[in-house]
Each structure stands twice: as structure tokens, then as C-alpha cells.
């Protein structure tokens, strides 16, 4: 029976504190009502972090607890991503078919690339190894999917709240770090403690980013990414649209 290495234990405690702060902030600002799965994910992560410190390290109990809670979080993360893209594209009637087609293609592409990487990973020898393989495939698929969604937003001038961008960019970074560390581990490099510490630092960074970036005011601030004109004022954008319609109608009636 052992204990979590001191550095990791310290990072886990710090991560748990930031998690708690983020959960409280979401409660106070009312954002938990809109981003339900994300709030649930933060709460479950906090619970996992606090309990994991009490479980004896490097034991079967620790392994089973880790796998069970990671599976639960994985399930929640899939729901979180689905929540993000519902908020991104849910109200855009003009591009419903285009977005559905794109999502189908993005999901297919994500799964294919993720599965192709399995050919580079070593055959797992134990339950933990098999779980990491499975987890890497899911996380990498989600990463590609989130990146594809951001590319979709670069193509279409969709006006979204700043919170949605903060939300999705945070997850893109988190998935990238997690997928990379899992892939490195699965290809045979047993740098478990170093990668675990690295992942903790990245998680703390993402949680801090959400803590600072997500706010009630962020729901009102509209952003369009990747387009040189930046209609942060939704009314100005819609007025411009109305005048475009008027010009087009004049052209048709000529």
C-alpha cells in the first residue's frame, strides 16, 4: 500500500479547489442551468479528486476506483460535447442540413482517425492498459470533433456567446493534452508519473481558464470567430442584414 506521490497529491488538491470554485461560480451566476452536463462533470470531477486522495495508491482498489470514475467522467464528457454543439448550432435554421451533414462527416472522420491510431499502440497486457486504449480512442475522437466544430465556426459567421467559445476552447486543449499523454503511454513509454503530473497541470490550467472566462456577462457578449468584420453588436449585424435584403429586393424588382 502506498500513497500518491507528494507533487501529484498537491496538484490534485489544488485542482480540487479550483473545481470547487468553478462549481460555486456556476451556481452563483446561474450558468449551471444552461450548461448542466458541464456543471455535473465539474462536480463529479471534484468528488473523484477528493476521494482519490484517501484511496491507497498502487492497489487494486485504487485501480478499480480510478477506472470506474474515469468511465463515468468519459460518459459525462461526451454529453458535455453534445451540449456544446447543441448550443452552437441549435438555433441556426438556415444551415441545419449543412451542419448535420458536417457533424456526420466530422464524427465519421474522428472515429476513423482515432481507430487508425490503434495500429500504432501496443497490445495492452492488463485491465488498466485496455482501459487507457479505450479512453484514448474516445478522447481523441472528441478532440477531432471539437476541432471540426471550431473549423465550422471559422467557415460560417455564427454569432455565439463568449462563454461557448471559452467552453469549447478549454475542452479542445484538455482533450489534446489527455489524448497525447494517453497515446504516449499506449505506445509503450511508461512515463506514468511524469505524464500524470503534466495532465494535472493542464487540467488546472483549463479549469482556471473556465473559472476566469465563464461568467454571466459572457452570455451577453457575442463573438464571431475567424471573420474580419467582428459584429459584436448583434443589432448592428441584423440591421446590416435587413439592408442587404432591401438591396437584393431592389435588384430583383429592376
Amino acid at each position: 500500500m502506498g500513497r500518491l506521490p507528494f507533487a501529484e497529491a498537491l496538484l490534485t488538491i489544488f485542482q480540487a479547489l479550483i473545481c470547487l470554485s468553478l462549481a460555486l461560480r456556476m451556481l452563483r451566476s446561474g450558468l449551471y442551468r444552461k450548461y448542466r452536463y458541464f456543471f455535473l462533470y465539474i462536480v463529479v470531477s471534484f468528488a473523484q479528486m477528493t476521494v482519490v486522495l484517501t484511496v491507497p495508491f498502487m492497489t487494486n482498489l485504487y485501480r478499480n476506483f480510478f477506472i470506474a470514475t474515469e468511465l463515468g467522467e468519459l460518459f459525462l464528457v461526451v454529453l458535455v460535447v453534445q451540449e456544446v454543439y447543441t448550443w452552437m448550432l441549435g438555433s441556426l435554421t438556415g444551415i441545419v442540413s449543412a451542419s448535420r451533414r458536417f457533424i456526420r462527416a466530422a464524427v465519421t472522420f474522428a472515429i476513423v482517425v482515432s481507430l487508425m491510431l490503434l495500429t500504432l499502440e501496443k497490445t495492452p497486457l492488463n485491465l488498466t492498459g485496455r482501459f487507457f486504449l479505450f479512453e484514448r480512442a474516445i478522447i481523441f475522437s472528441l478532440l477531432i470533433f471539437v476541432v471540426c466544430m471550431l473549423l465550422f465556426l471559422l467557415y460560417y459567421p455564427v454569432s455565439l456567446s463568449r462563454n461557448i467559445f471559452v467552453y469549447s476552447i478549454g475542452f479542445a486543449f484538455y482533450f489534446l493534452a489527455k489524448a497525447a499523454t494517453l497515446f504516449i503511454r499506449n505506445t509503450g513509454h511508461q512515463w506514468d508519473r511524469a505524464m500524470s503530473a503534466f495532465l494535472l497541470v493542464v487540467s488546472i490550467g483549463c479549469l482556471g481558464f473556465w473559472l476566469v472566462g465563464l461568467s454571466r456577462a459572457g452570455e451577453k457578449i457575442q463573438r464571431v470567430i475567424g471573420h474580419r468584420w467582428d459584429p459584436s453588436d448583434q443589432e448592428r449585424l441584423l440591421r446590416q442584414l435587413q439592408s442587404i435584403n432591401t438591396s437584393l429586393l431592389r435588384t430583383v424588382n429592376k
Binding site: 449543412a98 451533414r101 442587404i244
Partner: protein, 171 residues
Amino acid sequence: MFLLGSVLAVTLITIVFVMLFVRLASRVDVDCTAEEWLETFSAERYAPMQRLLERGDFEYLAAQPGFRPEIGRRLLRERKAVFSEYLSLLVRDFNQLVRISKLTLVYAPEDQPEFARALWREQVRFYGAVSMLRCRLALFPLGVRGSEVGRLVETLATVRRQLTLQPETAA
């Protein structure tokens, strides 16, 4: 090894095309409002472009008494510069049309799958044609045919027509 090489090559080529696409698509006149631009836009302004690099003009000049090769080279250089300017304007106008089209699409009250698909197709076709034209302009300037320019201008007119056919947006 061969498979890995092929995958890397395909990935590299895809990245290059995407970068080219993004670079071309980002040339927009940000100072002009969409309404002003739509009022004044006309594909007719590109009519002179189709004749700029016609061989006929250069052959006629070469046949004149007192012609020297440097006169021909200077004319070619100047015509290439003007053609290049026209091409940049053409790309900017196309991007402006695409920008307005995307805005119309995003805020349309009804689903517009055909328009979205057509817009994507026209963009890929247009940027591909512009890239080829730029290569030809650099390597074989007198090989640039008026019909190639005509096809580009027609793409512009096609997008403009499709934009006119869209239902009123939910503004």
C-alpha cells in the same frame, strides 16, 4: 513505410491546399459595408481583364516598324501587373459575395441546403481556378486565355444570382 509516406504526403498536400484556401478567402474589403458594395457591384467591370494578355496585341506590336524586344517585355510586364491587380480585385469581390451569402445562410428563416452546397462548390472551384491562373501568369503569361477569366467572372455572377434568389432573412 510506403503507406506512412503516402499518408504524410496526402496530409501535407491537404494542409497546403487548406492554407491556400484560407489565404485566398481572407482577402476582403473590410471598410466597405455590405449594402454599399451590393449596390455598386457589377461583373462588367472585369470585361477588360479578358483581353489584357491576348497574344494578338503583342504580335501586332512586334510587327510594327521600330519595335524592340524591350518594348514588348515592358508592355508584358505592365499588362501582367494590371492583370494581377484585376485578379486581386476579383478575389476580393468574390470573397465579399461569399461573406454576404454566408451571413444570409446563417440567419435564413428556412433551411437552405442547396445554397450551402452550391456556395461551397463555387468557392472550391473559384480558388482552384485563381491558383492555376496565378501559376500560369507567372510561368506562361501569354498563355492566359480570355475564357479562363470569363469562367471566373461567371462564377462571381452565379453566386450573385443565387444570393438574389434567397428568401428574406430573419433580421
